[in-house]
């Protein structure tokens, strides 16, 4: 969802790449059907996987922004409709929870010896996915505006607030801070970022018991409210798309934005040349004197379905291995993502995500019950930001909502 592209484009997503070219991947039988999100990097992977089609082997793909709604049902049947799902840090959890993806150790041993070890995602020592790109949220700022007020790009959220205050006081922009604070997934994600920046833990260690209602939780809420005071008053309805639109319109000078969404702000069609030329990326910010940046690291990777024949699984593995091999990196595809593929050379736009990794940001928690926590946060934070509830009550209510859902799902008694 974090790099959900324009909805209209998703209609064009149900493309079949069957029989494009024969890349001779060494397999000539089996059925490959990939489901995944729809943005340029994943399209590149799917197109390159399709080049393996040979003999009776077929490769199809369904790339859509709605992939999370269809990947689980599409893999629960036997045989599964989709032989592979391209997932991210959070969405693999739903597939793991329902046991629809298979361990890849045997396939890696037989066909994937050349995949670098750092690309292998392991759960409990077993390879469950192969990562191919990284993503994170980080600072995006307007060079010209910061130069005008004589301030360096902020390294902390406190500095960002100070800069925003000056920009407003000078009358340059009324609401200089952008943020994807739409109630729901986006707002939940911003809390996760900030809370991790304060060093908070979501659960009591090793259990599904929530542990949000603490000083870090309160500090997180207060920082989010302070930031929202410098945002467009409609902020609770702004997702990443709307925030990007505010950026392009020149209404915003500072924001925390996904790396995968920054490229189009600098080079995409329809940009105001002055704004695009002055758009720059910076490292993710820390908060409250913490050392770890207030952001999360995400990977995108591919999986292989459990409920398919070994023949189909082998074809799927080989096709996707080919889809993320170093050969796919061309001048055209290089800037599409922060590839975790040997031979990748970061472009300036990718610096934010590279910095996130270098600064030791934590990966988004890959816990079976994190999705429930994220939903509870996304629904429960809005009343506080809208000024209808105090911070402690908000956190207590979020914990209560999470607890109810976790009890239903059998994570808590």
């Amino acid at each position: 969802m974090h790099h959900k592209s324009i909805a209209a484009l998703s209609f064009a997503a149900a493309l079949s790449f069957a029989g494009v070219a024969n890349a001779n991947c060494g397999v000539t039988s089996g059925r490959v059907n990939i489901v995944g999100n729809e943005f340029p990097a994943i399209q590149t992977v799917a197109a390159n996987a399709a080049k393996c089609a040979a003999g009776t082997m077929t490769v199809r793909s369904n790339l859509t922004a709605n992939h999370q709604r269809i990947n689980l049902p599409g893999m629960q049947g036997n045989p599964a409709e989709y032989t592979s799902a391209i997932v991210a840090t959070s969405s693999i959890v739903a597939l793991l929870n329902d046991d629809v993806i298979r361990p890849l150790d045997a396939l890696v041993a037989a066909h994937g010896q050349d995949i670098p070890k750092n690309q292998l995602i392991t759960v409990n020592g077993r390879v469950m996915a192969v990562a191919f790109m990284a993503n994170s949220q980080h600072l995006v700022y307007r060079k010209d505006v910061l130069a005008q007020i004589g301030v360096q790009p902020p390294k902390t959220y406190e500095e960002l607030l100070a800069a925003a205050k000056i920009i407003r006081e000078r009358g340059i922009m009324r609401n200089p801070v952008g943020g994807a604070y739409q109630a729901g997934f986006n707002l939940g994600q911003e809390f996760v970022n900030m809370y991790m920046g304060y060093g908070g833990e979501f659960f009591k260690a090793g259990t599904a018991e929530p542990a949000l209602n603490n000083p870090q939780g309160i500090a997180t809420l207060e920082m989010m409210k302070a930031l929202s005071a410098y945002m467009n008053p409609d902020f609770l309805t702004h997702d990443s798309n709307a925030t990007s639109a505010e950026w392009r319109a020149g209404n915003v000078a500072l924001m925390n934005m996904w790396g995968s969404r920054t490229g189009v702000l600098m080079e995409g069609p329809g940009n105001n040349p002055t704004i695009a030329a002055n758009t720059a990326v910076g490292a993710p910010m820390t908060v409250g004197g913490g050392k770890t940046p207030a952001t999360t690291l995400w990977w995108d990777g591919w999986t292989v379905a459990k409920n398919i024949s070994d023949d189909d699984a082998r074809a799927t593995f080989v096709a996707l291995k080919n889809g993320v091999s170093p050969a796919i990196l061309t001048p055209e595809t290089m800037g599409q993502a922060v590839w975790i593929i040997p031979g990748y050379k970061p472009a300036p736009v990718n610096q934010g995500v590279m910095d996130t990794m270098a600064l030791g940001a934590k990966p988004y928690p890959m816990l079976p019950y994190m999705g429930l926590m994220h939903s509870a946060l996304g629904d429960g934070l809005a009343p506080y930001l809208a000024g209808r509830k105090d911070a402690a009550t908000t956190l207590a209510d979020i914990e209560a909502a999470y607890r109810t859902a976790a009890k239903e799902k059998g994570f808590l008694r």
Binding site: Q68, S90, S91, V93, A94, L96, N97, D99, N118, Q119, L120, I121, T122, V123, N124, G125, A131, A134, R174, A183, G184, G206, A208, N232, P233, D234, F235, L236, T237, A249, L297, W299, M357, A361, K362, P363, M366, L367, P368, Y369, G371, L372, H374, S375, D379, A382, P383, A386, R388, K389, T393, D397, A401, R403, T404, A405, E408, K409, G410, F411
Partner: protein, 340 residues
């Protein structure tokens, strides 16, 4: 009608209703009484391109055995109905003993998701139903009074809100009330308050949803009333005119009584529809300020971890709610038919 003929006509409908309405309801009720098994959680080490971290995962082998023993899940009876996301039995009991006065009780009751949603749903229904019917009635009267030549275009224009896809109609209004949209900007200019945002205020959001609701459903009432107006007996109207009845008296004493059955029918349909209000909340991104029972079902099913039992329980509560709301009308209809 012969029984055989009746059966021949009715059987296909009955079969379809059984297959597509009755069976799914049975399945939803069943689902709401069961919840997923207790998850067997194990602590593991996960490695990603960034780092290895201690984490937890579901022990699939252990869970598998549980699943095979009880494929439906674990039976929880009414637990889901009574949990905090639904009727919140425990929380309400605590409210009775702890809250300081009725004001505090209401405030804390409306903090519970189900009752907050009910508050909006009932308000929406209570305001939109009569106002949209009333608006439709006046438009129908107006259109009926203009020269025949102009009626075609007038009907078309009046029907537009219904012709436009609800999602599109709502989106257009959504953009207009944006703080940079035409209505939003106009309101900021009029009130001279640069921080005014329709979308940030719960009260204004509710008003916006209600206005949209009236606008989008009035054409339905208009169409029905317009058709009804064509059947008003002309001789009664004429004799009323001869007796010197004013236009208003004719409407009050001839037209309205004639259209009463239509009004009851429409109120029935509208109450049902408005109780299940959903589209405007989604298209106005209003989830932060207004929720309805249907919206909860949607939210439960669209998270990364789906809450099927919770969604099923909300669906059953919605059906029960509709039945309760319609019961006065249903009882009345039953009696009328009983007499005849």
């Amino acid at each position: 009608m012969k029984h055989k003929t009746f059966l021949q006509f009715f059987l296909p409908t009955a079969t379809a209703m059984f297959l597509f309405i009755a069976l799914p309801i049975v399945s939803v009720v069943t689902q709401s009484l069961y919840a997923p098994h207790r998850q067997v959680i194990v602590e593991v080490e996960n490695c990603t391109p960034f780092a290895c971290t201690k984490s937890t995962t579901i022990d699939q082998a252990a869970t598998q055995a549980l699943r095979e023993a009880q494929p439906l899940g674990r039976f929880v009876g009414l637990d889901i109905y009574l949990d905090r996301s639904h009727l919140a039995a425990e929380e309400i009991a605590r409210l009775f003993s702890q809250s300081a006065g009725p004001g505090d009780f209401m405030r804390r009751l409306l903090n519970l998701p189900f009752y907050r949603a009910l508050a909006f749903t009932l308000t929406y229904m209570a305001v939109v139903t009569p106002l949209s019917i009333l608006l439709g009635f006046f438009v129908a009267l107006g259109v009926n009074a203009i020269p025949r030549l102009l009626r075609g275009p007038a009907i078309f224009v009046s029907l537009l809100p219904m012709i436009v896809t609800p999602l599109i109609g709502a989106l257009i209004l959504f953009w207009m009330v944006d703080s940079r949209g035409i209505i939003g900007t106009a309101m900021i200019w009029l009130t001279e308050n640069p921080n005014l945002s329709l979308k940030a205020s719960s009260v204004l959001t509710w008003i916006m949803l209600i206005v949209y609701g009236i606008w989008s459903t009035a054409p339905f009432a208009f169409v029905i009333y317009y058709a009804g107006l064509q059947t008003v007996p002309q001789d009664t109207l004429e004799s009323a005119m001869i007796d010197g009845a004013s236009r208003w008296s004719r409407i009050r004493y001839v037209v309205l009584p004639h259209l009463l059955p239509l009004t009851v029918f429409m109120a029935l349909i509208k109450i049902m529809d408005n109780f299940r209000v959903f589209e405007p909340i989604v298209s106005f991104n209003a989830g932060a300020h207004a929720q309805s029972l249907s919206y909860f079902i949607y939210a439960d099913l669209s998270g990364e971890t789906r809450l099927l039992s919770s969604a099923a329980a909300t669906s059953v509560l919605t059906i029960l709610g509709v039945l309760v709301l319609l019961s006065p009308v249903l009882v009345r209809t039953w009696r009328q038919f009983g007499k005849a």
